[in-house]
């Protein structure tokens, strides 16, 4: 049953990767990165049990804690970008 769950997770990873490569907007790609991150957390937890070494859950824990920093950095990037490029009269 670990196998069934991990196969589902792996296939979802491939789907997320497809979304990341297809786009079409950059935000779709960021979404795909985030999805890929949570799927990695799940995959690492499942494989830790498949290998019979549950002490390696530290890895999944590390990802669970810091994976969203990247998305926050994207928000800050877009926000700064919008601030810098908001000259009056400029619209497109």
């Amino acid at each position: 049953m670990y196998l069934a769950a991990s196969v589902a997770i792996l296939v979802t990873m491939a789907l997320a990767l497809a979304r990341a490569l297809l786009g079409p907007t950059v935000y779709d790609r960021v979404l795909a990165v985030n999805m890929f991150g949570t799927k990695t957390v799940l995959l690492l937890s499942v494989i830790a049990f498949l290998y019979g070494r549950p002490d390696f859950l530290d890895l999944a824990l590390a990802y669970a804690l810091i994976n969203f920093i990247g998305v926050l950095a994207v928000l800050k990037f877009v926000q700064d970008y919008a601030l810098r490029h908001q000259e009056p009269g400029e619209e497109s």
Partner: protein, 118 residues
């Protein structure tokens, strides 16, 4: 299953050359640096592929399981430090690119060459 034993090395070869392609064919400096990280990752993959022992587990000794086989710890030590060194050198490269961008207003290699009057 025999050919799967070499799959890691084939992926290593393809990744290595994908990174190499980005470095030699792109003119954008940041793209070159990203290509370099792919190149680097390929080398990491080569080392870590070599450490695996069939039926082994990560080299953290379990005292309650005598006779357990362990994978080779030595490549792991090398790569562990190399990853952190990699991010440090990547940021050094990025810092240089930022300075180039401030001085020339572009990060395209051919435009920089033109400005230098070559």
């Amino acid at each position: 299953m025999e050919f799967l034993g070499l799959y890691n090395y084939w992926v290593f070869a393809v990744l290595l050359m994908t990174g190499m392609y980005a470095v030699i064919s792109r003119t954008n400096l940041i793209k070159k640096l990203i290509g370099m990280t792919i190149f680097q990752a390929a080398v990491f993959l080569l080392y870590i592929s070599m450490d695996k022992v069939e039926g082994g587990t990560a080299p953290i000794i379990q005292a309650d399981l005598p006779g357990q086989l362990y994978s080779n710890p030595l490549p792991q030590v090398l790569i562990l430090t190399a990853i952190v060194v990699g991010i440090a050198t990547l940021s050094l490269g990025l810092a240089i690119v930022v300075r180039i961008s401030e001085a020339y207003g572009t990060i395209e290699e051919d435009e920089i060459r033109e400005m230098d009057g070559e």
